[in-house]
Amino acid sequence: MEKIRLIEVKEEIQADNKAKAEALRNRLTADKTFLLNLMSSPGAGKTTLILRTIEALRNDLRIGVIEADIDSMVDAEKIARTGITAVQLRTGGFCHLDASMVERGLEGLDLASLDLVIIENVGNLVCPAEFDTGAIKNAMILSVPEGDDKPLKYPLMFTVCDVLLINKTDYLGLSDFDVAVLRKRVLRLNSRITIFEVSAKTGQGIGEWAQWLKKEVDEFRFS
């Protein structure tokens, strides 16, 4: 019988994606284009929040959108109706975006003429948390109907995000969602995260969020 030998590999499985994400960030820095990766469960309000954000910032920033969808164009069409350029990425069953998919999406946009590109990632709280997209900041939405226990079930997502938007606050009175409990749970996982309470439907809280985002984009572009 042949002798079994041990070979040291010592490689990070995602090294390829990480290198691509890093290269993408360098390119975005050179182009002064801020890339925001927006993640959430399906139905948490990503598209509506993007529409509100466009509405709030379109006079101050030149915005583009990359829409990831498993197999439809519905969201990209909604964005395109605002006159903002939206690139649709069909992920064909893929549960997340990685840096090379985002790179492909960016090919459809003229980066040098954009200040902010928002990626609407695939609706999912698990997989997108694991893949660096090359974004400058990661944002997530948790909507009130989903419940305040999500940080317990999907801790990784809450640890990789720079900002959390608690959306659908107009449902608060109808649910047992406890904002204070949620905040405590999230801050234990990630004490650096910035939290906003918004309703993309009524527009409540959108001003504060848009102001924060504008400041982040400006700091990135002019630093």
Binding site: E2, K3, I4, R5, L6, I7, E8, V9, K10, E11, E12, I13, Q14, D16, F94, C95, H96, D98, N124, V126, C127, E130, F131, P151, L152, Y154, P155, L156, T159, V160, R185, L187, R188, L189, N190, S191, R192
Partner: protein, 116 residues
Amino acid sequence: MHELPVTESILKIVLQHAPADSVSKIVRIFLEVGELSDLEDEWIQRYFDYLSKGTIAEKAELVIQRIPITFQCDACANTFEIKREALQDLQCPECGNMECKLVSGKGYYIKSMEVV
């Protein structure tokens, strides 16, 4: 759910590390997976069995070891391990501070492999 692309990368990397002139078969692959990562061991193996057909890695066994979650305290710099179930009560066991930074417990690595 993202086991498939992860498994594709595993296969690619192990084949790169197994030169055809000196390795006839990969028998076992030792992986390290962060406790915070939601990867299912069983599915990684199933995808691997499927993807590796016809390669020298066919029928290789994947041995998965979990990397514990560790945080570092912002106040006293103490590094400590914490179980996934205990994350909601996270605080520094030394000084009681609740502002801590994740140090390890995510990501996936290929440590080594047994070959003939």
